[in-house]
Symmetry: C2
Subunit: 547 residues, 2 copies
């Protein structure tokens, strides 16, 4: 051991960095393998292959964990950290290389921090809770899921506590310590979970402050709740008959493939298949596999999912190949990833310019469908942009969607920080649905039992969906300012201009910056500002619904 | 190290065996991973994914090699070997478990035997030679390939020599030592490559003696050369108009899937897809993936390939799950594997009973094709069983096919053992084509440059194709004796009776026996006998061609 450390100390900074890069490349290869196996499982694997696939995945994950937590990797990272402190690093490495060290140190600290028992408990719950969730949802019986949620909250708190103590989520430590300083008894201090949600959220949206999120969400609630009420008061939604009826699956598939390719998806470096839940797996920029799903009498779902996943895929295909296999080449965060899918799905795919281009293609593909043949761009624009408050998040439109997310965020915080008991979830859920969307939940199946997220341990994850939408609007606004006549280009089907702008400004930057917020500031020239998003929704739907 | 060995010695035999089984299971998981990646590469991977796939495959192969040659595995195997010598093992382990130790020792000895330099040279040539071969074939220029073949022969001899010296191919050592004993000068002894071919062949057909092969091949040549001449002299081949013309690919696909399923392929434990070269990958009995290919104006190719690969797949799906992940559960040898594909392709798929069942299905699928609708079983039987000597092995019928194999075998032996120079391959090839098949080779593209095998290092492999056919006939004859009214069952589409018989007698036996020959003897009650095969061909084609 001493020998290895000595020899590291004797090496040039470049040589030590190269050792880091080589270890990173192996870790990336393992992650890529894991991703190919995951894709295969969702799309191709025969059902009886499940057990042997589990063995393969566990094997790869174990080797990946060994490598990512190896003493060799730690020694190299700490050697580089020591040189950074002495100011040597900045002279020899560029900003991308420095980012690799920063991310490497953070990830390493985090991975060696997690006790084996916690990892095992997570793994066990991740298997058992979704089974309980499936049964609970089927029977609309929340009690079947409740004990598992309690276990998840306990485990999540344990993990948050570890991070707060170790200082890997600095904002969470700050919040927690501030709260502690206001408490006097040891008893109270023991029960203080302030900052825990921030610590959990940090796993999905690195560096994003909960205080910023509260500001964004307060702004959203203030404007969207009355907007939705106004739309509802207006009565009947717009006619969507131009996209109703049965659409032949084979031609839906063709249409989706054509649109994905036109948007810039490189089919020599990726695939589009079908799975029960649409997804994108980013093995490598040269091998990006996405899926969608088609339903014969739900045309809008197939094309919307395809455009959404194409947005994710363009991010993955556009990652920086110069830093191939290195952490800096990875996507910045979930909120930025979702900004790319939503920018294409909503800012482009729900817009008039896109349908000016796409409607003739659709007409060409479905010559026998009279409702398609007689549709105008205005018809299809209105049909795709209906606002209808409902029970289900994944079926929600772009206005009501965020109130579903805010509701979940508020419950999660209250549960993690000890202000809400698991038993009281259904009541709290239903009250918020009424307050925010004016909807009376009839049963938990379509209420607090609808999402799998909590059962698989995704606590602190939901906010990234709305963050993605807020980011998307601000980024699209910047693109419109920087690309002359962007909408005219889109209307002609010239999507490559936008794609290349995103490649350069978002995709190739990878994880260069400290947070998604920092990336947004660099790209758009101003701090994250929820008003772009609010104005977009208010203007768009005031016009559509003539409010 | 001493500690580990001591603790092994202190363990019960069952406990040591269990340690072996656990290591084997990991090795099997890695092999399965490698196989999934290979399948994905041939069927699904986008073209630009090739580089990153190579990295993934090399990574898995490296870990696999580390595990399969680890000191821990060696210590366990040697501990068990020591206990076997003292007679302890047979009391505690059953015959399948003993076979695992036997195969483990053999494989371990072989893997630690191969020097790194040799493995690297093989790996380099495996990449470079096929590229040269592609160019050489395209331009019909043998000189472009010749230097690579020389390198392959050198490397193959090196490997054979290592095996002969280490005694891992006992029959090869015997042949070599006998040859040496007849030589007097050191110079001559140095140039003696006798037994080298036997050593190479042992990698593909474990325990099979070259002397047996010579006997089989001499018997074949003696009977097939005049049979082919007689058929040729007869003039026009049978009418095959009932299967000519264009067959819609989508319905060919449906037909192939239906037949594969009827033959017993479990689609819950496998897939049938399309690739440039039909293949079967046996990840696990519960996840067997096969491919075929369809050409619109070549109906016979698609269905024949499908049935062939289904034969391989039934073997893989039928492997012994009780010894899951253990060497004994693996297929016996290439010659036995090929016996399963050929039994279904030729003994079943080219027979009257099969078409009695399948012709109505075909008519149902292609109602618009008049030539199909008017065909009788006799028409289709004759159309599928035409004998026509040609240049290309993979396009050859079941009679002429084996002369293509014998020709390659004879050239390989002469090349490896130093009796033929690479430069003389084209001349020797063309002479044998004339002698055996009465065919004048017009250019090397359709002569000695047609197969990729030598370029990828498969020296000693070709004989397994003919062995498979010889095995298939003898096995099918045994099945006919043991299953009452087998052909009547086949004519009704009751294929499961044959499949289950093969499951029990071949598939589940795995690698229990020392060689494919031993398995044949156990299953059929008599030694491997080429006369079954010869009589099958002579009787069948004498009738078809009214000789």
């Amino acid at each position: 051991m001493t020998v290895a450390i000595k020899s590291l100390a004797a090496m040039t900074t470049r040589a030590v960095y190269d050792k880091l890069a080589a270890l990173n490349a192996d870790i990336a290869t393992l992650a890529a393998l894991s991703s190919v196996l995951g894709w295969d499982q969702q799309t191709m694997m025969p059902p009886k292959g499940a057990d042997v696939r589990t063995r393969q995945s566990v094997f790869i994950d174990t080797v990946l964990h060994e490598r990512a937590s190896s003493k060799e990797l730690g020694d190299i990272l700490h050697e580089l950290q020591a040189r950074q402190k002495s100011g040597d690093l900045e002279k020899e490495l560029n900003e991308y290389e420095l980012a690799n060290i920063r991310i490497g140190l953070r990830d390493y600290k985090q991975i060696v921090l997690k006790p084996v028992e916690l990892a095992q408990a997570r793994s066990r719950l991740s298997n058992e809770a979704p089974i309980a969730w499936t049964a609970a949802r089927k029977e609309s019986d929340f009690n079947k899921l409740a004990p598992f949620l309690k276990d998840w909250i306990k485990i999540s708190r344990d993990w948050a506590q570890i991070k707060i103590k170790a200082g890997t989520a600095p904002e969470a430590s700050r919040i927690h310590n501030e709260a502690l300083s206001l408490l006097t008894t040891e008893e109270d201090k023991k029960k203080c979970f302030k900052g825990y949600y921030q610590a959990l959220m940090d796993d999905y949206e690195i560096g994003f402050k909960q205080s910023t999120l509260v500001e964004l969400f307060d702004g959203l609630k203030e404007k969207l709740v009355p907007l939705i009420a106004k739309i509802k008061a207006k009565g009947q939604p717009h006619d969507d008959s131009c996209i109703t009826g049965n659409f032949d699956i084979e031609r839906q598939t063709k249409f989706s493939h054509r649109i994905a390719t036109e948007l810039g998806f490189d089919t020599d470096a990726g695939r589009l298949d079908v799975s029960a839940h649409p997804m994108t797996t980013g093995t490598h920029p040269n091998d990006v596999r996405m899926t969608t799903r088609y339903t014969e009498n739900l045309f809008s779902e197939g094309i919307t999912s395809t455009i959404h996943e194409t947005g994710h895929s363009l991010y993955e295909q556009g990652r920086n190949k110069k830093y191939d296999g290195q952490p800096v080449s990875q996507a910045m965060s979930l909120g930025i990833h979702e900004s790319q899918s939503l920018l294409w799905e909503r800012m482009v795919g729900l817009g008039r310019p896109f349908w000016t281009y796409a409607l003739p293609v659709l007409k060409e593909m479905f010559p026998e469908k009279e409702n398609v043949q007689s549709a105008t761009v205005e018809n299809i624009y209105n049909a795709f942009n209906r606002v209808e408050p409902g029970f289900i998040r994944v079926e929600a439109d772009e206005v009501t969607y965020h109130l579903h997310v805010i509701l979940r965020y508020e419950l999660e915080v209250a549960l993690i920080e000890g202000e809400l008991e698991v038993e009281d979830i259904p009541k709290a859920w239903n009250q918020k649905m009424k307050d925010y969307l004016g909807v009376e939940v009839t049963e938990d199946r379509v209420g607090c039992l609808q999402d799998i997220h909590w059962s698989v341990g995704l606590w602190g994850y939901f906010p990234t969906y709305s963050l993605g939408a807020i980011n998307a609007v601000q980024i699209f606004n910047a693109a419109k300012k920087q690309i002359p006549d962007l909408e005219a280009h889109l209307a002609k089907g010239d999507f490559h201009i936008l794609k290349e702008w995103l490649n350069k400004n978002i995709h190739e930057k990878g994880s260069l910056y400290q947070s998604g917020e920092e990336l947004i500031t660099v790209v758009t020239g101003e701090k994250l500002n929820v008003n772009y998003f609010i104005n977009h929704l208010v203007d768009k739907y005031t016009a559509i619904y003539d409010l």
